[in-house]
């Protein structure tokens, strides 16, 4: 199977039913995409498939054939994506494990809704779990990038 991953054409020789998550992690060594639940319940494995956020843990690798996959490693070369910068500035991460998935979901949201409302942010991010409890800072970081007023977060 041929898949464009982070802008580079790759050929994968795996069971076409293998979830994209395990192909990325176990076969390609792209470990920034995390396993958290395996059932599209937590969002830790979120990647972009042709620009849309998908949960890699339930996406058979065959669905990505001939398409473009972007992982956290490909969002920017050096952490310069505005969301990554906002995440650092507001010190969003605690343990950090879920944050790649959070950022990938937020990036897909802002691509279609550059100025999301609070309700739209909550709706888009509802599938991404953080057990450390960084949700209020996640909201603030998204709003910072969107340039919309923020009355929340840490005060």
């Amino acid at each position: 199977m041929k898949i464009k991953i982070n802008g580079v054409d790759k050929t994968l020789d795996v069971d076409p039913e293998m979830p994209l998550l395990w192909a990325l992690r176990d076969v390609l060594g792209l470990t920034g995409t995390k396993y958290g639940c395996g059932e599209a319940l937590c969002g830790a494995c979120t990647v972009h498939l042709d620009g849309h956020a998908v949960r890699a843990c339930v996406t058979p690798v065959r669905r990505a054939e001939g398409r473009a996959v972007t992982t956290i490693e490909g969002l920017s070369a050096d952490g310069s994506h505005p969301l990554q910068q906002a995440w650092l500035e507001l010190r969003v991460p605690q343990c950090g494990f879920c944050q790649a998935g959070q950022i990938m979901t937020a990036a897909a949201l802002l691509a279609v809704k550059p100025k999301p409302s609070d309700a739209e942010i909550d709706q888009s991010m509802a599938g991404n779990i953080c057990r450390c409890g960084t949700y209020t800072r996640i909201r603030s970081a998204i709003k910072k990038v969107a340039g919309v007023p923020d009355d929340g977060g840490n005060q």
Binding site: V14, D15, M18, W22, R25, D26, G29, L30, T31, G32, T33, K34, Y35, G36, C37, G38, E39, L41, C42, A44, T71, I72, E73, S76, D78, G79, Q84, W87, L88, R91, P93, Q94, C95, G96, F97, C98, Q99, A100, I103, D118, I121, D122, M125, A126, N128, I129, C130, R131, C132, G133, T134, Y135, T136, I138, R139, D151, G152, G153, N154, Q155
Partner: protein
């Protein structure tokens, strides 16, 4: 405990060879330490500090990073005391080794227990650098200080770079007493509200190395089918079907654990494969028949009734002041209520995982572990090796919350690596279902509280009965009742003004594995006490805030006699250093209610609760508003904490936010239940946790400025939250929630 301060340079340099260096953790196989060239020579006044000849300063983080920010905080504290330029500091994560002192990252203890020894260690390094420079300048050391990687002679403003004096300093004796500490005001980093996260860039670019990210060429992956019931074992299974799955290499029978469970692996069958996916598919093909064993009759619904019956009967009295029986006999009014909290599961975002490799006479492990020394001891025992032949490398933890302080998952990896032999690297990957179903759950509990009120509404007697499965039962299967020390967490250390108080521990036999979960027994004790004080307030038609202050009583430090207990474990701290201080508890209540404009609460639905835990004091106010779909929504929250001196203000604020949200998660959704001994829940679908819509729009955090010794920080924000949420929902709806999870009663 204190760290061994004086340690030979050889021991320090030996330490540099192992473990993972940091910032962005290098991948396995690359150099894992600052270069040997830098490590050769230099100043090593303490096991956690090395200053190379070129001035590069390595600070060893010997505690595990699981989101609390220790890897950012510890180097700042030590580095400030030395007087470093933060840009010239390398942080190295320690492997598990007793030479580093206690590494168990648990009990909110890292800063609280070691603040003094960290500062002394930094001071020792500074004193040696200063002494060397002073000698060269022929001036008094007292006239010198350090700043930004230079020694400074204050009167003449002369400077010498650390690099210029390291060699001379390294030949001086290491101070082991009379440490000259900096004035607190000079410790600038620890008060900096904008301190960067050491691993921030690695987190947001996906390069941070967690347990599952450790990679070796040709590494295999194992998943294990574990007995669904604690104490159960495999009756029969079909290895052939699993081996027929492409990519599956081997099927291994795990050793059967014997009670007490301790941190033993769970038994079952391991499937080893080329990829995680093949291993998961192979496991599904095993077709196992289980012999469920003696705990197959454990049912949560029936056990709930058993615990309630237990607290309705007589327990063992562990706190006794005055005579409650007389007080209840003459009470103008009696308030009583029962509270239930189920088992709770830690569910860190990173499921358990460990990588191991065993060659003849040596073992190496990489794991996201809270307790690498315990892992080392367990692995050495399993493999019958001396501990110095076992290396436990600590990766970043994708959350821990107490689950990763147990060694079960690490020992599993070591066992499978031993079976594979020949240095074959293997990763044991737990699925989320494994995590939910094979937990060291927080204790399940029932409590009964009773208060006698006089005709003015004052509480004249307080009677608290608590039944919960003690964690001691995991270590001693004969234990079926909480011990006196277990009641320290929110029952016997509770400041009460009432002249008559009794607290009893009631029977609660254990039928599964229980263990620590962020703030542990405080979760249910604070929920019951915090809800009950609100119930007393409503019974009196009084302001809950005033009743809280009445129930606690005036500002004072509580003696053992006033508490009515013979001793107080006090989280390992002396009562001289960390008294039970009613004044500090009152203060956080006063601060948090002021922030929340409590007195102006007409038309709002606010809930208040406060609690002392891990020798810190925290108070929470939650505001809820009606919601057309979900009955209510938490729209605002305030939290004030007095944790004494805090290191890294910014990460403490983040702990307050995160602890508050975890408290909301426990209260709304927490609960692992068992049917016929097996856990009912399987994944985030039914083992629910707070999502973004569940949390307040705003969280206002307040840290009390204090010169008291540091207390715990990671856990104390959690306990008061459940009661604050319940009290706010009562204010909004008039419905009193006495059982977690609230989602059940609210049908949300």
């Amino acid at each position: 405990m204190t760290l061994p301060l004086k340690l030979s340079r050889r021991a320090f340099l030996a330490g540099l060879g192992a473990g993972l260096a940091v910032g962005v953790m290098p991948r396995v196989g690359r150099a894992q330490s600052p270069s040997d060239k830098k490590a050769a020579g230099g100043l090593a006044p303490h096991v956690l500090i090395h200053i190379a000849l070129d001035g590069t300063t390595t600070i060893v983080c010997h505690r595990s990073e699981m989101g609390q920010g220790i890897r950012s905080s510890l180097p700042i504290l030590i580095g400030d005391e030395i007087g470093v330029d933060p840009k010239r500091v390398v942080v190295r994560q320690a492997e598990g080794d007793k030479k580093y002192g206690d590494q168990n990252t648990d009990g909110s203890s890292s800063i609280r227990e070691q603040y003094d020894s960290y500062r002394n260690a930094g001071a020792a390094a500074r004193m040696m650098l200063v002494a060397a420079a002073a000698k060269r300048w022929k001036v008094k050391p007292e006239s010198c200080t350090t700043e930004n990687h230079f020694v400074l002679h204050r009167p003449t403003k002369r400077t010498l770079a650390f690099a210029d004096v390291v060699e001379a300093a390294s030949k001086l004796p290491v101070p082991n007493k009379d440490f000259v500490l900096r004035p607190f005001s000079e410790l600038k980093g620890i008060a900096d509200p904008k301190l960067p996260l050491l691993d921030g860039l690695a987190y947001v670019t996906g390069t941070a190395q967690f347990g599952a990210d450790v990679r070796f060429p040709d590494m295999l992956t194992a998943v294990i089918a574990r007995p669904p019931v604690v104490g159960g074992k495999v009756a029969r299974y079909d290895a052939k079907r699993a081996l027929a799955v492409p990519g599956v290499r081997k099927v291994i029978e795990m050793p059967v654990p014997k009670p007490p469970w301790l941190f033993q692996p769970w038994g079952g069958i391991a499937v080893v494969a080329d990829s995680t996916w093949a291993a998961i598919k192979g496991r599904a093909a095993l077709d196992i028949t289980w012999d469920h064993g003696p705990n197959a009759s454990y049912n949560s619904d029936a056990y709930r009734e058993e615990l309630l019956a237990s607290v309705r009967g007589k327990g063992t009295t562990h706190r006794d002041v005055g005579n409650i029986d007389t007080a209840f006999a003459v009470a103008a009014k009696t308030v009583e209520a029962e509270y239930v909290v189920p088992h709770l599961s830690q569910m860190p975002m990173e499921p358990l995982v460990a990588v191991a490799r065993v060659t003849k006479g040596q073992a190496e492990v990489w794991a996201p572990t809270q307790n690498p020394q315990a892992n080392r001891t367990s692995v050495a025992a399993l493999l019958e090796l001396p501990e110095d032949k076992v290396t436990i490398n600590v990766t970043l933890l994708g959350g821990g919350f107490g689950r990763k302080s147990k060694s079960d998952f690490v020992v599993e990896a070591a066992f499978i690596a031993k079976e594979l032999g020949d240095g074959q690297a293997v990763r044991v990957q737990w699925t989320r279902e494994d995590d939910v179903k094979h937990g060291y759950y927080n204790a399940v509990s029932a409590q009964r509280l009773r208060a006698a009120l006089d005709d003015k509404g004052a509480v004249t007697a307080w009677h608290h009965k608590t039944a919960f499965t003690p964690i001691g039962g995991t270590f001693n299967d004969k234990l079926d009742t909480p011990a006196a020390d277990d009641l320290m967490q929110g029952v016997t250390d509770l400041a009460l003004a009432a002249p008559n108080v009794r607290a009893e521990a009631c029977k609660a036999p254990l039928h599964t594995r229980v263990g620590w979960y962020r703030s542990v027994y405080n979760i249910f004790h604070a929920f019951a006490v915090g809800s009950f004080i609100d119930e007393i307030a409503h019974a009196r038609s009084a302001d809950p805030r005033e009743v809280w202050l009445d129930v606690i009583g005036p500002a004072r430090k509580m003696s053992l006699a006033e508490l009515g207990i013979p001793k107080q474990p006090n989280y390992g701290e002396t009562l001289d250093k960390h008294p039970v201080d009613a004044g500090r508890l009152r203060n956080v209540i006063e601060r948090v209610t002021k922030m929340a404009s409590w007195s102006n609460r007409k038309g709002r639905a606010l809930g208040l609760a406060a609690h002392r835990s891990f020798v810190a004091y925290s108070a929470v106010v939650v505001s809820v508003v009606p919601d057309p779909v979900r009955v209510f929504r938490i729209d605002d929250a305030w939290i004030s904490m007095d944790a004494g001196i805090v290191v890294n203000q910014e990460r403490v604020h983040s702990q307050l936010e995160g602890g508050l949200i975890m408290g909301i998660s426990n209260a709304l959704y927490g609960g692992a239940t068992m049917t016929n001994g097996a856990t009912d829940q399987s994944n985030f679908r039914d083992a629910r946790v707070a999502r973004i819509r569940d949390v307040p729009h705003r969280i206002h955090t307040d840290i009390v400025a204090s010169t008291e010794p540091p207390s715990g920080v990671g856990e104390p924000p959690v306990p008061p939250v459940g009661a604050a949420v319940a009290n706010a929902i009562f204010a909004l709806t008039g419905k009193r929630l006495r059982e977690m999870p609230f989602a059940k009663a609210l049908k949300i």
